[in-house]
């Protein structure tokens, strides 16, 4: 006994993937031999698979691959070099950062620009979200331009920010009275 077109449509993918048992497979073969419509559907589905499996379809363009390789190269450089660079920067910046923190409360009190203030009690410094130069500031610094973002000193140093020279000068002045 044969099978209907509906049964063929239902299990067509299983037939293509070889997931049917031998009896079912033989029934499908017999159906396709006598049904041009189902044969057309089968051929079409096989064409689809064959076309998309071709390496040329959905291939990554050479220019994209080149840019991707470049990005990966940047991110996979030997960590020793980048750690060394970060370590040196941190070593140079930490004393300055702690010096700034020692006078932070006094500077906060003198701040006249509320939107530039570090949130009270958070121990954070401000970096500009708009400036390209990676400098971090303490509360009320006149050199902070653009929209401020507040992060910890550790984060700032880790992200490559250096202390604002203006803030350092201010801090020294404050410390010396």
């Amino acid at each position: 006994m044969g099978i209907s077109c509906e049964e063929v449509w239902h299990d067509l993918s299983d037939y293509i993937d070889g997931e049917l048992n031998s009896n079912q497979h033989a029934l499908f073969d017999a159906h396709f031999a006598g049904c041009p419509h189902c044969r057309a559907v089968l051929d079409g589905a096989r064409n689809v698979i064959h076309l998309y499996r071709d390496e040329r379809v959905l291939a990554m363009p050479a220019a994209v691959e080149e840019r991707l390789q470049e990005t990966l190269r940047e991110h996979t450089r030997s960590p020793r070099r980048s750690f060394l660079a970060w370590g040196l920067a941190a070593a140079a910046a930490l004393p300055l950062a702690f010096g700034l923190f020692s006078i932070l409360p006094r500077l906060k009190r003198r701040s006249s620009s509320p939107q530039r203030d570090v949130p009270p009690g958070t121990g954070l410094v401000a970096v500009s979200q708009d400036e390209k130069i990676k400098v971090f500031h303490i509360a009320g610094c006149a050199k902070l331009e653009g929209k401020p973002k507040f992060i910890s000193v550790e984060e700032a140093l880790h992200d490559g920010y250096t202390p604002c020279p203006y803030c350092i000068g201010k801090a020294r002045q404050e410390k010396n009275g």
Binding site: S13, D43, G44, V57, L58, P61, L68, T76
Partner: protein, 229 residues
Amino acid sequence: MTPLGVETAVRNCAGVSDQGRATRETEDALIAKILSGQREFFMALVRPYQRTVYAMALSSSRNKEDAEDIVQSALLKALSRLSQFRRESMFGTWLVQITINEVRMRRRKDRRIEMFSLGHTPEDKTNYVPKDFQDWREIPSEALERIEIRETLLKALASIAERYREAFVLRDVHDLSIADTATILGISRGAVKTRLHRARLMLREILAPGLSENGRLAWSAREVQKPWE
């Protein structure tokens, strides 16, 4: 180590051919090197999966720039989270999962793309009835040299619903098994088979009438062949 040196070392120590996909042992060796600090081996680790990652991104994006961005984000996430890879699956499976998550995350941010998707029908293959029986026996492999035909295939793939597209790309583009596809998508084998079935038949219906946007296709007669016969 220079990139060329890395490639040579990978082939020598792990037996990877240019065409071949890295074996599990190869991948383990590469992962161990990367985690020990030789991060330059990451490129060799991901290269066999680049096409799948790109295909997944491209067929789900509005343009090639978005796709490139998705691929880059997915690969960098894989690099930064490599120490979290538990080896319960192949690296490729894990990488493709990261890519799918990236695609889904961006899709949630931009629901507009979903409006153009076809095939939001209940996930049931019993109700499928072909809309036409156009005879599409001929297949033009040489036609794939033509950019417009590759673009048409991409558009067709992008037009079907995400769940069908994901199953199709993993199984029919990347040639993964149904079991691996099920693992990556976190669904049953039966669900994979159903989605695959729908994807194949929807794509047939989109492409069979012709690949040109305004009507007729026209595969050239000399391009015709039937590779499975």
